[in-house]
């Protein structure tokens, strides 16, 4: 399945865009998604150890399955407040 991952903060600067298109097998998990990005988009690799994945409006766990019908976002360490 094809997904447009939402990017934030420095990830946008690295991509030069607000989203990153990825192609994932059905049933892939959050950790499989991150491994795939590290392999296919090595420019993100140094950031990924500190990136969390959000599915819709919730943070996801590494074993969660990536759904096809919700917004998936890469969340670098936050700095609000």
């Amino acid at each position: 399945m094809e997904l447009d991952l939402l990017l934030f903060a420095s990830l946008r600067d690295i991509a030069g865009a607000q989203t990153l298109k990825v192609d994932l097998p059905e049933g892939a998990t959050v950790s499989e998604l991150l491994e795939m990005i590290a392999q296919n988009h090595p420019e993100f690799a140094p950031k990924l150890p500190h990136v969390r994945v959000a599915i819709g409006d919730e943070f996801a766990q590494p074993g969660d399955t990536i759904p096809a019908d919700q917004e998936i976002a890469l969340i670098p360490p936050v700095s609000g407040g």
Binding site: H50, A54, G56, G80, G81
Partner: protein
């Protein structure tokens, strides 16, 4: 119908402290605690001219709601969090966190904990603008 006793907001308008205090008001409360995070003119030895706050809005709002709901679970009569987004000048409030409760004692600790949670969990990022350097994304707090 009962009024909700917690509230989380993302806003692009200036945050009004008095309006927040009114929202927190409750006849059974003798104490209202408010913390305002404010844009300051110096960070990591650079002169800051403005900060743009950027969010994953649905995720940030959900996390902010969890923080204030948690403060009510732990003894606040009411809890309110408002995070400002967009471009802010030095001196403007970026975050307001407030609680009301019958007695003041527990309020200090609740606000402190709430701010720690907001700083670690709410999907908002600062894009800092400097007098002498190119803007930078801040990650981690």
């Amino acid at each position: 119908m009962m009024e909700p006793n917690y509230e989380a907001q993302l806003t692009r308008e200036a945050i009004d402290t008095e309006k927040a205090r009114s929202w927190l008001d409750d006849p059974g409360c003798g104490a209202i605690h408010i913390f305002c995070g404010v844009v300051r003119d110096l960070n990591r030895s650079k002169t800051v001219t403005a900060i743009e706050y950027h969010a994953h809005e649905p995720l940030a709002l959900r996390s902010l709601e969890k923080v204030v709901a948690g403060l009510v679970d732990d003894g606040a009569t009411k809890a309110l969090a408002i995070h400002r987004l967009g471009m802010l000048k030095v001196g403007e409030t970026s975050i307001l966190l407030g609680v009301s409760l019958p007695h003041r004692k527990e309020g200090f600790g609740l606000l402190e904990r709430g701010m720690i949670e907001i700083k670690s969990e709410v999907a908002v990022w600062k894009h800092e603008h400097y007098r002498d350097d190119a803007p930078e994304w801040i990650e981690g707090s």
